[in-house]
Amino acid sequence: MTDHFIEDKTTKVNVSVDGAATQKVDFNDLKSGGFIKQRQKDLFTVRLRCPGGKLTTEKLLEISKIAHKYSKKGVVHFSFRQSLEILYVDYKEFGNIVAELEKIGQKVASCGPRVRVPTACGGCEYNPNGLTDTQKMADMVDKTFFGTPTPHKFKTSFSGCPIDCARTKEMDFGFQGVVDPKWEEEACTGCTICAEACKEDAIASDPDTGKPIFDPVKCIFCGDCIRACPTEAWKPKRYGHTVRIGGKHGRHPMEAVEVCNFLPDEKVADAIKMTIDWYNANGKRGERIGNALKRVGLESYLKHMEPVFKSSKA
């Protein structure tokens, strides 16, 4: 991960921007701006801001041209958080590359103690398993919260279904799509397909009628029964997000804990805002939210979040 770069302790250097008057560039500011120092003298990685890892082909073509012009080795790298990184960029060119990227509407990402670019899977727009519009949510979070200062890095992600490709269990704050299935007896023909389709053994078939016997405790709300049912006897009752907090990877990985189920789309922004408020009020500098929760106690957080989370109780 490029987060663990070799930090340059010489802080300020003179850089000429656009051939104009020299200006001071603060290497510590650069880190917050998504410029990551490389091993090679004077060369940096420029991390772009690509929420949800999605780009239009038009923009990608333009980025390619810029990357080709400024990367001394002509290479890019896909970051572990879905953003494109232009490698081997001379710091003296920062002004120029940022200006050229700006012209095509491409912003530079960030590092350091703040809300990072959200990651997301394809979501319900085109992925058959997707239950939530993860791309739309990632875009909203990026526009609303990107760069907000926090005690340490704050990573969010959106998975569209319980397969959880966006690894919400490893995020500071993660949202995973769920659907609550509802069965209507009149439409059911007892074909048993739902029991076969359910990978969690949450549905058994009645030996006589073939009709489903549902075990809600085993259900992980993936919606396979709804998609498989030939007669629409299984229907979606409601969609929402399972919300997880306090996960991280890195040297000492932690698994996030589930704090809310079926949070509706329109409450996601509130949940993030309130969580950042709690984190900024309770977290120590350099402490991830998972560790802050361990130290302060989950109860304090849940109490703070009650106005947002209570709305999603069944």
Partner: protein, 74 residues
């Protein structure tokens, strides 16, 4: 009654679905195709994909460790 039968036992996902789709496309709207699918992955995946294509599953019968399903072309 079905107009045609496709025995897809032993055929992996998603090839079984592609074969079903191609067969349905060669048929007339309203005609019924019988498809034989293994339990496990095939029965978990193929019916929902057929549904997503807009065809109608009109009958499902379990016979041992395989399924006999009837699909009406849209």
């Amino acid at each position: 009654m079905s107009d045609s039968t496709l025995d897809l036992r032993g055929v992996m996902c998603p090839i079984n679905f592609v074969k079903t789709k191609l067969k349905l496309e060669s048929m007339e709207p309203g005609e019924v195709l019988e498809v034989i699918l293994d339990s496990g992955d095939p029965i978990q995946n193929v019916p929902k994909s057929i549904k997503e294509e807009g065809h109608k599953i009109v009958e499902v019968k379990k016979e041992g460790d395989f399924f006999r399903i009837k699909v009406q072309r849209n």
